[in-house]
Subunit: 359 residues, 3 copies
């Protein structure tokens, strides 16, 4: 009975967070409660998506996963955009890629490596996912690089039209990669059965999907409403909050799954989660948010700061080096985590966004 109570304990966080938001509790309390309440919600959202996908044909399942796989992240970002927190959203997108490739992969390699001396996986599969990821990330970062090299006076007029054009190209590449994996080369990728979907009926799955989506929206509203105040109170920059805090919360479900899989020595599936999730952020979540930002009234361009560009490029390069030889050990996990820690230290030492050069 105690175990059962423990299992239901996290769900107490959801009403607590909503109550704190309604009562306008101190911002740190709202931030902490909403952040923690998002963890079981993101997990339920993922499970409902998997259960529904199980009931559909392979193509429909693929499309569902491709669009709802990062639902929690999308919901948080849309609500933050509506409040005009453009910098936090941008930072949470690059932070999501960095977090998947350094924090999650690092924890997975460390957890797996502590139990298994050397872990093997398919270098070929890792390489091909990594190539896709690198192409996506470069395409995403190129506009930012260009903005940094253009005179300030011209930047305003360029940023948005170029960002929209590039977003359309990214979505076309995403469509092409869906055609590739769901149609022309569907056998190539195999079914790595990363998660075991819960055996729910279609009706239950749809209901839970809608309920958890709606609750995620309400809780995310509380979280997003407190981000700015928390940043001021703790003296942390918006970039730090976006890269380290929001990105970690939005991807918590993937984090847990990848670490558990590595612990059980299913390295191919663990790597696949890290790479696929980053790829979805680069090719789907980001361009969709750029296009949605116009009707939401706070246009967002693909104008990542130079710090983010460097950090994302380094993450892709290093996760590549670690996985290229088809073997991993605990030291590689420590190295990735050390890099994440150094990155977080650098961001935490920045007193505020204004300290950055106006690149």
């Amino acid at each position: 009975m105690v175990r059962r109570a423990l299992k239901w304990l996290p769900w107490g966080l959801v009403p607590a967070a909503l109550a704190a938001g309604w009562a306008h509790a101190p911002s740190l309390v709202r931030f902490a409660l909403a952040g923690l309440a998002l963890l079981p919600l993101a997990r339920l959202l993922g499970e409902a998506t998997d259960a529904l996908a199980e009931r559909l044909g392979p193509v429909a399942a693929g499309l569902l996963n491709a669009t709802c796989g990062n639902a929690a992240e999308l919901i948080i970002a849309v609500l933050a955009l509506r409040r005009g927190l453009v910098e936090v959203v941008q930072a949470s997108l690059s932070g999501s890629i960095i977090g998947n490739l350094l924090l999650v992969l690092g924890l997975a390699l460390l957890a797996g490596g502590l139990r298994h001396r050397v872990q093997k996986f398919s270098a070929l599969a890792a390489e091909s996912q990594l190539a896709s990821l690198a192409l996506a990330v470069f395409a995403l970062l190129l506009p930012a690089l260009f903005f940094h090299l253009v005179r300030l006076a011209h930047r305003e007029s360029l940023a948005l039209p170029l960002s929209v054009a590039v977003s359309v190209v990214l979505l076309l590449v995403y469509t092409a990669s869906l055609v590739f994996s769901l149609h022309t080369h569907k056998d190539l990728l195999g079914t790595h059965a990363a998660h075991e979907a819960p055996p729910w009926s279609t009706r239950k799955a749809v209901t839970l999907l809608l309920v958890s989506g709606a609750l995620t929206g309400l809780v995310a509203e509380v979280l997003v409403g407190s981000v700015e105040e928390v940043g001021h109170q703790l003296g942390l920059s918006q970039v730090f909050l976006g890269v380290v805090v929001v990105a970690v919360l939005g991807n918590a479900a993937e984090h847990a799954a990848a670490i558990v899989l590595a612990w059980r020595n299913h390295m191919d599936a663990a790597l696949s989660i890290c790479f696929a999730s980053s790829l979805q952020v680069a090719l789907f979540v980001t361009p969709v948010l750029v296009l949605l930002s116009f009707p939401l009234g706070h246009p967002m361009g693909l104008v990542f700061s130079a710090v983010e560009v460097v950090a994302v490029a380094a993450s892709v390069g290093l996760s590549g080096l670690v996985t290229l030889n088809g073997e991993s050990n605990w030291l590689e996990g420590v190295q990735l985590l050390a890099l994440y820690l150094i990155l977080a230290l650098c961001l935490a030492f920045l007193p505020a966004q204004e300290a950055l050069l106006p690149l």
Copy 2:
């Protein structure tokens, strides 16, 4: 008879372009006619070089290919330099590398991938060519990086002496690589017989080489004479014209050959064309032009803009990732093309060269 007429049709463009140049037709007309007329000329120049190489011993043939392989590009660049279009020439050099690695390789992988599910090639051969290319490209870009980090006041006095010194080093490396491929390790590279040389007599080959070279020169003069006006009229920067337009025209023959080879599933030869052509631009064409720019009266340094440095480095990295695992498919072609498209979009959105920071 209709087919025959069609075969000869492209040659009508040569007198048309020359007439337009002589009559000083509107610049867009001159630009378009001269650009199109260069395509059959560059092809003939390549065929005559191959046919003559066939009649010579292996070492002489290697040297001929090493110097005349990029003849069309060299001729266009020398004429543009004489007119002082230093920026267009620099942009066409980096554009040639980018074009070979993203546009040509992307089209080849896409064309081949649409016909063949998965295409295999020697990862080892690709890797060793890529290492040479990366070394050459880094050597080429290092001076530019240094200039960007030096105070403006010191830049003028440094640019030319350093560029000359680096060009001499690059030509020594090129000489070493000829000794390697034609003497000490001549069997290592094998004869991949990328093109089938036409069975012409030595006399015919030499005549056609001279005639096509002279015509290329005349037509290129018309093209180069219209570039500046076209840029102003269309509101495109010199960098865009150099990177996208001039570089594509100067390498049209290689483009066609690589795509046809990929279509026929000769992937090793197709990749070799893309890599070898880029290597020749980095180690031979560029330093020769730097050294020639002094007698031509418009000294050109190795001062590529930061945008070009980033784009070239990204192209080398991504073509490497795609070829490293010894397999390709149509999606990888799409990804390379998407990157080229995004790059071209970025350059097209730049209103003019002055918009760039004075790096």
Copy 3:
């Protein structure tokens, strides 16, 4: 007898250098004598370390090598720091990494390649060392990148606390890698017996270690005391002196060993020296110097110039490309040396440190 005399000749340089320092001879004379006298001293220091390691258990031997392996470098750097030559020390650290990866590896591949047509080595071992190196180097360079992107006004207050925090993380990673190689995975790395240790008694080894350490300190004092004047006289920047001169002298013993091993076709051991030495500089020597710089009175941050960041990143990337396929030849050696030459040319053309942008 003549051979014997020749063998002892280098030791004459030590008293000559000390006498020149005591008599305050012209700075160029002091610099040259002290530089040359460091070569036999660094060699003896290395041999004494190896001989002592031989007499100890494997873990103690590993720890000894891990701390005394770069003793000559550490001694020179500490003396230079005490005199406030912070820029020279920073440059010698990045120069040590660049020198190992381009100059030493290039000379080794060239020397080996002239005698052996193609040299093979374990690509897997090279890759795993390279991954460690890349992670270490990125961790080392990230703070520098951040400083370059932060407004000048905020830089002063950030540089030192962040550098100390990152140095602690680097030392923790170094400790983890010692636990990995000396405890959990000690068999994985094998005993590649790079050097043959001289068969000295423990007593003799300890005595020679202390004597050579003390003499290195005295001679290094002479060298460091002349560096600034030599820079002014020859018109060379502090960065050039640090990267090219001090770094080459401090690593002379490794250089000779790697080249001899490549000549004898022991490529795995030769590569291992280049990579391990760079790794020790990045993870041990540099953070120790940062922490020691506070009691020495001239605090040094991890604030490498942008030129150094680019050069180190390029060195890691290129040595990776060359070793990734498990084969080498003389041309690859030439290419690495050409890159080192171009880098040295760029640094030599910089008139003085002030010419660099205040990044």
